[in-house]
């Protein structure tokens, strides 16, 4: 396992931990951006260049900015009045997450002898992805297009200011 993998994984996990543990919501959003960037680097290490750049473009360029705008529009950077950033049932949540990680980790380590060893790096050109998208995956592509249109219109309608006289 290369040093680069350990470094980038450490960065990603640190960003994710900061994103869920910090008190200031905007700091959480910026730490999340660091986690996204770390994940994009992991994708690049896995020779998935298109997925890595799409991750940067969509997640850092759009989702992170969306989260930050939502925090600003809902005054999320003010700490709650009756103290605490964790909910009353935080212990149960933590226990569930720990149990999930334990189970997944056990599954991975248990099946480790049967996992494939290092395989040669696949070279994927954008042309092949384009051909796949327009050939074998054209139906999911069209459905995702429909979904994105519906999400766009829905998000605008949900977040729109209601007209004053129609309450």
């Amino acid at each position: 396992m290369s040093f680069a993998f350990y470094l980038v994984s450490a960065l990603t996990v640190a960003g994710a931990l900061a994103a869920v543990l910090l008190k200031n919501t905007v700091h959480c959003a910026l730490a999340l951006t660091v986690a996204f960037a770390g994940l994009a680097l992991l994708f690049l290490q896995l020779d998935a260049q298109f997925a890595g750049f799409a991750q940067i473009l969509v997640y850092i360029g759009a989702v992170a900015i969306l989260v930050v705008f939502a925090i600003l529009l809902t005054r999320g950077s003010e700490t709650p009045k009756d103290g605490g950033i964790f909910s009353r049932t935080w212990l149960a949540g933590l226990a569930v997450a720990a149990a999930v990680f334990a189970m997944l980790g056990w599954a991975v380590l248990q099946s480790e002898p049967g996992l494939p060893r290092a395989t040669p790096a696949p070279t994927v050109t954008v042309g092949e992805i384009g051909v796949a998208l327009m050939g074998r995956y054209v139906l999911p592509l069209e459905i995702v297009a429909l979904l994105l249109t519906a999400a766009l219109i829905g998000a605008v309608i949900v977040a729109m200011h209601e007209k004053e006289g129609t309450k």
Partner: protein, 103 residues
């Protein structure tokens, strides 16, 4: 430890951290942040299995991950729109206070 196991463990750790965040934080937006982390962990899993799987030239894993990125972006947009609308109505995003069905 094989490279694939390494990536899967990192993905599992990210998933668990996202889940912990989604279950323990009070602010609705931080729950959404946790959900985004979980989706990203699943994407990492998909790409890792694509890379070390038997037929990477079939591009299945990468396609799945790209569609997942697109759908996650749409879901984040709608979810955050909902949080903004709820804040406008209840003047808070604190989930511990939203414990009644009555608006």
């Amino acid at each position: 430890m094989t490279p694939l196991a390494g990536y899967l463990l990192v993905a599992a750790l990210l998933f668990a951290i996202g889940l912990a965040g989604a279950l323990t934080r009070r602010n609705a937006i931080l729950v959404l942040i946790g959900i985004e982390l979980m989706l990203n962990a699943a994407n990492l899993n998909l790409i890792a299995f694509w890379r070390y799987g038997p037929h990477p030239e079939a591009l299945t894993g990468m396609m799945f991950a790209i569609f997942s990125i697109a759908v996650a972006a749409a879901e984040a947009a709608v979810g955050l729109g909902l949080v903004i609308a709820i804040h406008r109505h209840a003047h808070t995003t604190d989930l511990d206070q939203m414990n009644r069905m009555k608006g």
